[in-house]
Symmetry: C3
Subunit: 458 residues, 3 copies
C-alpha cells in the first residue's frame, strides 16, 4: 500500500456514522411507535377465542421465507456477476436490505397499520418490508459499481420513504391492485434507479470498462441468484394476496409465466447471439421477466394460457432489451444501467401494469363468482365498474412513473453531495475501494492486492 495516501478521516467515518445515526434514529422510533400486533402479542392473541392454527403466521410465513431468500440470496448473488465487485454486490445488498427492513417497517407502518398511536407489526409487515427492500435493490442494480455504500444508504433512505408513499397512494387511495408489485416494486424501483443513474451520469466510465464484465466463476455465482429468484417468485407474488384460492392461483400463474419467459429467453438469446451462442447475461436476467410481468395480474383470473403468453412476451422483450436497448440507453439518454434493470424490471414492470389493467377490464361476476370480493372488492360492491378499475390501474402506473422519476432525480442530486464516497471513474466496479480484498490465488493471498485510492469526485 506504499504510495497510497490514506483517506481523509471524514471519508473513513462517513459509513460508520451514517449506520449509527440511522440505527439510533430507528431504534428510538421503534421504542415510541412499534408494537406487536394482535397475532404476535402474547396477551392480545390469547385474549381472543381462536385456535393457534388460525394465526396468520401459518398462512404466510413459508412464503415470507421464500421472499426473504429472494431479497438476500437472489438479488445479492445475481449482482455478483461482475469480476471484481462480488463483495460489494453481496455485501451492500445485505447492508441496504437490512436498513430498508427497519426503515420501511416505520414508513409502511405509519401509512398502513397505525392505530391507537402505534404501528402494529407481524408477518405481513415483514413481507411488506422485504418487498420495499426489493425495490431498493432493483435501484441498486442500476447504479451498481458506481456508488459508494454511504451514497447507497442515502438512496435507500429516500427511496423507502417514496416507495411507501407511492404504495399508499396506489393501494389505499386509488384502490389499485398490485399484489406482486409490477408497479409498486419493479416499475418504481427500476425507474427510480434509472433516473438516479441519469443524474449521476459519468462521461468517462470507459476507464472502468475492463472491469464491467464477468469471469467464468462470477457468472456461476450470479446463476445462484438467478435460480433462487426464479424458483421462489411464485411465493413473491402470492405472499400478500388473499388467502385460499388467491394465494394458490397467484403462485400457479407465476410458475407458468416463468417457464415461458425462460423458453423465450433461450430462443431469443441464441437467435441474436454471435454465431448462435447463448449469452449468460440474458439467461441470468431475462428468464426472470416472467415473474415481473405477472406481478399485478397473477392474482386475477389470468388463466394458465394468459400466464404463458405474458411470460413469453416478457422474456422476449427483456432479451431484446439487453441486446439492443441498453447500449442505446447509454448513448442517447446518458443512462448507464449496470445490471440492465430497465430490461428486467422496467419494461416488464410496465408491461405487467398494462396487463393488469387489461385483465381487470375483463373481470366479470361470472368468471370470479363470490371470489370477486377478494380480488376486486370495489367491483364486487358495485362501487366501480371493471372498466373503471382498469383506468385506475393505468393511473396507478402513471403515478408510479412520476414518483419514480422525480424521486430518482432528487436522489441523484442528493448523491452528488461532494463529501460522499463515490468511486472515481477509473475505479468503478472495484471492491478494493471499500473492502479488504484477498488475492485470487493461494500464492497471492498472503498480502492484499495493490490498493489505490478513491477520489471524492462524484
Amino acid at each position: 500500500m506504499a504510495g497510497s495516501p490514506r483517506r481523509a478521516a471524514g471519508g473513513r467515518l462517513l459509513l460508520p456514522l451514517l449506520c449509527l445515526l440511522f440505527q439510533g434514529a430507528t431504534a428510538i422510533l421503534f421504542a415510541v411507535f412499534v408494537r406487536y400486533d394482535h397475532e404476535t402479542d402474547a396477551a392480545l392473541w390469547h385474549w381472543g377465542n381462536h385456535s393457534n392454527a388460525d394465526n396468520e403466521f401459518y398462512f404466510r410465513y413459508p412464503s415470507f421465507q421464500d421472499v426473504h431468500a429472494m431479497v438476500f440470496v437472489g438479488f445479492g448473488f445475481l449482482m455478483a456477476f461482475l469480476q471484481r465487485y462480488g463483495f460489494s454486490s453481496v455485501g451492500f445488498t445485505f447492508l441496504l436490505a437490512a436498513l430498508a427492513l427497519q426503515w420501511s417497517t416505520l414508513v409502511q407502518g405509519f401509512l398502513h397499520s397505525f392505530h391507537d398511536s402505534h404501528i402494529h407489526v407481524g408477518v405481513e409487515s415483514m413481507i411488506n418490508a422485504d418487498f420495499c427492500a426489493g425495490a431498493v435493490l432493483i435501484s441498486f442494480g442500476a447504479v451498481l459499481g458506481k456508488t459508494g455504500p454511504a451514497q447507497l444508504l442515502l438512496m435507500a433512505l429516500l427511496e423507502v420513504a417514496l416507495f411507501g408513499i407511492n404504495e399508499f397512494v396506489l393501494l389505499t387511495l386509488l384502490g389499485v391492485k398490485d399484489a406482486g408489485g409490477s408497479m409498486t416494486i419493479h416499475t418504481f424501483g427500476a425507474y427510480f434507479g434509472l433516473a438516479l443513474s441519469r443524474v449521476l451520469y459519468r462521461p468517462q466510465l470507459e476507464k472502468s470498462k475492463h472491469r464491467l464484465s464477468s469471469v467464468y466463476h462470477s457468472d456461476l455465482f450470479a446463476m445462484i441468484g438467478t435460480i433462487f429468484l426464479w424458483i421462489f417468485w411464485p411465493s413473491f407474488n402470492s405472499a400478500p394476496t388473499t388467502l385460499g384460492d388467491g394465494q394458490h392461483r397467484t403462485a400457479l400463474n407465476t410458475y407458468y409465466s416463468l417457464t415461458a419467459s425462460t423458453l423465450s429467453t433461450f430462443a431469443l438469446s441464441a437467435l441474436v447471439g454471435g454465431d448462435g451462442r447463448l449469452d449468460m447475461v440474458h439467461i441470468q436476467n431475462a428468464a426472470l421477466a416472467g415473474g415481473v410481468v405477472v406481478g399485478t395480474s397473477s392474482e386475477m383470473m389470468l388463466t394458465p394460457f394468459g400466464a404463458l403468453a405474458a411470460g413469453f412476451l416478457a422474456g422476449t422483450v427483456s432479451t431484446l432489451g439487453y441486446k439492443f436497448f441498453t447500449p442505446f440507453l447509454e448513448s442517447k439518454f446518458k443512462v448507464q444501467d449496470t445490471c440492465g434493470v430497465h430490461n428486467l424490471h422496467g419494461m416488464p414492470g410496465v408491461l405487467g401494469a398494462l396487463l393488469g389493467a387489461l385483465v381487470a377490464a375483463l373481470a366479470t361476476h361470472e368468471a370470479y363468482g363470490d371470489g370477486l370480493q377478494s380480488v376486486f372488492p370495489l367491483i364486487a360492491e358495485v362501487r366501480r365498474s371493471a372498466t373503471s378499475q382498469a383506468v385506475y390501474q393505468l393511473f396507478g402506473l402513471f403515478i408510479t412513473l412520476m414518483f419514480a422519476i422525480v424521486g430518482g432525480s432528487l436522489g441523484g442530486l442528493l448523491l452528488k453531495l461532494p463529501f460522499l464516497d463515490a468511486p472515481p471513474e477509473s475505479k468503478c466496479y472495484e471492491d478494493q475501494l471499500y473492502w479488504e480484498v484477498p488475492g485470487e490465488h493461494e500464492d497471492e493471498a498472503q498480502g492484499p492486492l495493490r490498493v489505490e485510492e478513491p477520489d471524492t469526485q462524484a
Copy 2:
C-alpha cells in the same frame, strides 16, 4: 475467432426454432385444455363452503417449493462439477426443466386430471410436473457434456411423454405405490438416460477426457447442488403422499435414510480411496442414495431402523458403483455415464423398488390400523392381499425398466439425426460450443477465449 468457420445458419437457428415451436404448441394446448382446478379458481373455490385453511395450497406448497429448489438448484449445481461445463450444466438444467414443467402439465393432465374436456391444475400438478422434470434431469446427467441443447430438448419431449405413460400405468392401472418415485422417477430417468447414452456411444471420447474432471471451485459449486438435494429430499418424497401421518412419516424416514447413506458413503469412500482419502465424486453423489432408496417405501411403515438400514445399503452400493462399476459399464457395455446416474439413481432406484415390494408384502392391519386405507387402499378394501400388492410392485419395476430402456433407445436414435447439435468428440464437456464464455481471470476477461467450431457429427 479468426479461422473458425461460422456455423451454418441451420445450426444456429435450430435451438431458437425448437424453443419457439414448442412454446407455441404448448401455449395453444394450454389455451384449449388447461383450466384452474377448484382450489385455484376464484368462482369454484368460493362456491363451496370451506375455510381458506382447507385449501390444498397450505398442505403442499412448502413441500413444493423444496422440490422446486431441488430440481433447479440441486440438479443444476450438482452437474456443475465439470471444469468447463458449468454454464451448460446450470443453464440447460434451467431450459430442460422449464420445458418439462409445461409439457408434463399437459401429459400428466391428460392422463390424471382430465375431466369435462379440460385439464385441471393446482399445486398437485405443480409437484407432479417438477417430479417429471427431475426424471429428465437424471437422464441429462447420463449424457452430460455429450449432447447439444437442441438434442436435449428432443430428449425431453420424448421422455416427458413416456414418463407420464409409465407413471399412469403404474399408479393408476396397476395400483402400485411409489410416492417418492424410486421407480417412476429414479429408475425410469436413469435407465432411459443410460439406454440413450448407449445408443449415442462415442468410441473416441478419450479426446475430451482432459475436460472430464473437476477443478477445486467447480467441486464446491457441485456441493451446493448436493446439499440442497440432501436437505430437501424429505420434502421430495413426502410432497405427494396422503396428508397427516403420511407426509409426516415419509419425511421422517427419508431424513434418517439420508443420514445413514452419508455415513456409509464416507466410510466406503475412504476405504476404497487412494491412501484412505475421500473422493468428492462419492460425497457429492452417493451420500444422496438414501433419498432414492426409500422413494417407494418411506410412506409405508418402514420403521426408523428400516430407514437407516436402507440408507446404509444404498450409500454402500452407490459408492462401490462409482469406484468399480462405472468403468466396467463403459468398457464392457459401451455406456458412457457422465454423472454416474447408474450409481445414484439406477441401482438405488431398483433397490428402492425391491424394498417397497418387501415392505408392502409385510403390511398388516395391525401395523397400519385405519391408516391402511390411505397407504394401501386396495389392501384395506380387501381387493388385494399384501403379497399380491408386492407382486404388483415388482411388476411395476419391470414395466418401468422396459419403458425406460426401450424409450431411451428410441431417444438415442432420434438424437442421432444428423442436423442436430451434437458436439464433436474432441469438444465434449465444453461450454464454448453453446455459450459466450468469459475468461477465467481478470486479465483474460476482456476478450472471449479462443473458440472452435462444433461439427455436426453425432
Copy 3:
C-alpha cells in the same frame, strides 16, 4: 505422489471403521428403541379423532426445513472461507451433522421422549436433533483445520451426549426457557469447542499461517453460508416454541435483531478497519450475532425495540471481538479459534442468556395475559416468581458453561489419543490430507497436486 510414503493401514482404516462402528451401534439402538410417535404412526394417528390439519407436521415442518438448511448449507459454507479447506469445511460439516442427527435422536430421545420403553420420534425430534448438530458444528468452527475427521467424529460422540444432558438439566430439571438456544446451543457449542481447542493448543501453528486466509472466491462461498444462516434464523429460534403467537413473535423479534446486528457490524467494521475498509470476516460472522443474542428472549415479550437494541449490541461486541479479542485469546489464553466462534457464538450467547434472564425478570401477567402459561408456565401456575425464574435462567447459564468447559477439556484429552488423524502443524487448513484434490485450473486438473503426508502427531 512419488516420494510420498503411504499412510499406515491403521491410519487409513480409522475413519471407515469409526463410521461403520458408529452406524452399526445406532442402527441396533434404533431397532430396539426408536418408534414413530402418534403423529407419524399410521395406526396411532388414525386411531384418534382429528383432522389431518392438526398434525404437528404442518406447524413445524417448514421451520424444520429452514433449520436443516442452516445446519448443512449455512454452517458448511460459512466455514468454506479458507482457501484450501473448502472440501473439508463442507464435507466434514456434512459427515458430523449426519452423525449428530442419529446420535442425538437417541440421546435426546432417552431424556425427553422415552415412554413405554421406547423413544418416540416426529418432527420435533428432527428439529431438536438438528439443533444439537448445530452445537457440534459451532465447536467444529473453533478447531477447523486443525483436526482430522476421525477426531471430529469422536468429538461429536462426546459432545452430543453432553449437549443432551445439559439441555435436559436446563429445560426439564430447572425449568429454564431457551427456545433458540442462546445457552444450550451457542454458549455450549462455543465454550466446548474453545476448551477443546485449548487442550489441543499447537505452539507451532505459525507454520500453517499462510493457509489461514481466504481467497476472493472462497469469501463468496462463505457468504452463501452467511446469508442462508441470516435469512433462516427467525425459523431457527421459532421452530421449537409454542404454537400461535409464540412462533410468530419469536420470528419477528429475531428478524429485527438481525437487521440491527447487520448495521452495527458494518459500522464497526468500517470504523476499526484499515483506512475505513470493511472486513469480510466481520460481515460473514458478526452480522449474525443478532440471531444468537435473542435465542433465549425472542419468544418472550422482548418488544421490537428490545430486539433492535439487543442485535445492535451483539453485532458491536462480536465485531470488536474479531478485531481485538481473538488475537488476545490466542496469545494470552492459548486458545486458537479458527472461525472466531467466541465472537459469534460465545459472547453473544452469554449476552443472550443474560438478556433472557432480564426479560424473564420483567415478566408480568399484564404483559403476557393468558399467554403467560405458554411462555412461563411455572410463573403462570404461581410456582415461581418472575425474579425466581430469572435466577434459574442465570443458573442455567452457569451450568452450561461448566458442562461446556469441562466437557470440552475432556474432549481435548480424548482427541489427543496418538492413533488419531490430527494433521501435522505444517499441514493444517489443508484439504489434501483427507481428500483427493483436483487442481485449481484446467491445465493442472489432469493430475492431483503434490501430496504430502500427515504425521500422526497430535
